[in-house]
Amino acid sequence: MKKRLDLPLLTTLGALSFFVFVPMLSAFEYSIRTPLEGGYGLTHYKWAVDNEDFFHYILRSGWLSALTVLITLIILVPTVTWLHLSDSKLRPLIDALSLLPLVIPVVAFAVGAQISFPEFVQNTVLELPFLYFVLALPYAYRALDIGLNSIPLKTITEAARSTGASWVRTIISVIIPVIRGAVMATVALTFALSIGEYTLTVLLHWDTFPTWVTYVAQENILGAIAISMMSLVIPFVLLTSITLLTPDRSAQRRK
């Protein structure tokens, strides 16, 4: 029997293709043009990879983002778990506070950081992961909040505790694996936001991959587009492999 076409699904896919895939494919098509020789080729990709700064900056952004993810998980997972378990009256307040990074202009945030942070903090690039953490907070907090809301957290935590797990073991061995989906979403959102962050980084006078790309674009726009295409692929491959390497062991749940 012929299956009915799903109109809303088609509309969504259509809109997604039009606004995301079409521009991306166009950019890709543009990046493989070879204006001098005519036709297509990977000249600009080769130029980008041959540029020694390419790996320097992509690695730098990579580890800064990885560190941001780590900071986010270490701070947020226990905090949000505690908020859920303690039934704290502070929870609505913290819910609201977690949204603040969305409404504070990044410029104000950057200027504030420059005025208030001591010099030894401003002298190290390690200030960036902590600031990225704040920028990613609204998304990361909500992802974890939804994850913890969807499980019988109190019982599972108490079962783990009474079976002999310390708080740290309870979080690492029980809570994180059980809300795996939410943790993966937190990792993905935080990583993507950090690796693409431009405004704050530039305002604090640091160079990372996105700032380097805009610098490169001034001398070779096609090369910059080629670099951007690659920078899209790298986090995508990374996040997909993380997801595949940590399979959901009880995925058969859906009936």
């Binding site: 599972i156 505790r161 079976t163 009880s250 749940r253």
Partner: protein
Amino acid sequence: MTSKDLTLTNVSRRFGTVTALDNFNLHVGVGELVALLGPSGCGKTTALRIIAGLESLDSGKVAVGEKDISKVPAHKRNMGMVFQAYSLFPNLTVEENVAFGLQMRKVAKHSRLKRSQELLELVGLPSHAKRFTHQLSGGQQQRVALARALAFSPEILLLDEPLSALDAQVRVNLREEIRRLQISLGTTTVFVTHDQEEAMSISDRVGVMSNGVLEQIDTPDVLYNEPATAFVANFVGVMNRIPANLADGKVNIFGKNLVASKKGSETGKIVALLRPETILVKKSENQGNAKVLTRSFLGASSAIICQTHEGTIVQSLMASLNTGEFQPGTSVDLEVTVNEVMVANG
């Protein structure tokens, strides 16, 4: 055997203005199963959570054997606990769930999986080791939870209404199984429930709680036949409350003078507390002293609910034989078969 005895001494716990436990004392002997029974909000679950270390106490002492564990965190108490429901770890297989406590105690993998298999055999699920918990029924999940709580040979086993989410038939089977396992392993056990049948059927002793206080703790037989307080008398089993007058230590019920056993300073207008099995229903040729409202056939016995001419509802429990004639509306004579009656203030 690793089991030890458990002692709670003068334990108090308040939540804001509510007193959950008030100078609560309890001793559970080695290998004994004690049920804490009471209406919701009586403090039984708080008591269990304090024993487990999941709740702090305001004052008093919890001791396992000779050791005061009042300040010991939950994960170092070496107690197994089974919760009401949904406490298994969904990311682990059945055998990994059972082995979890051993993993936390750094037992080698092959030993803990072997122990896990032993426990699964004990609870009748040896072929379910590799399954995930969502592939099990509610009863099977609670069996796994029980296996998990017992796998590391805890000093005390705590059961927090483990049967209340299950179907009637599964409940009865599983409670028998819990008792069988508890006896064979000799594990000191505290069992919290609001279901008196459950508590009475498998416990060595039952503690009846009300408003944070242990009203009485005794064997099920003593609790039923010799309740220490009117609360216990009313809470445990079915109890008829028949208004009467107390004079010279005697009460007249259905024309029979009974010796009143007082628990307090009752006098004058009181209610007599009589179990249904102490009341006999006889067919009356004339008006009688009551009329039958309903008769419920329960198998070997039948419950006959009557209303006296004064309006009091009285329940009788009799052997089903010859109770078929008690149709609704039948005039009957009620008689009391005992000579002594417990009385309470009306």
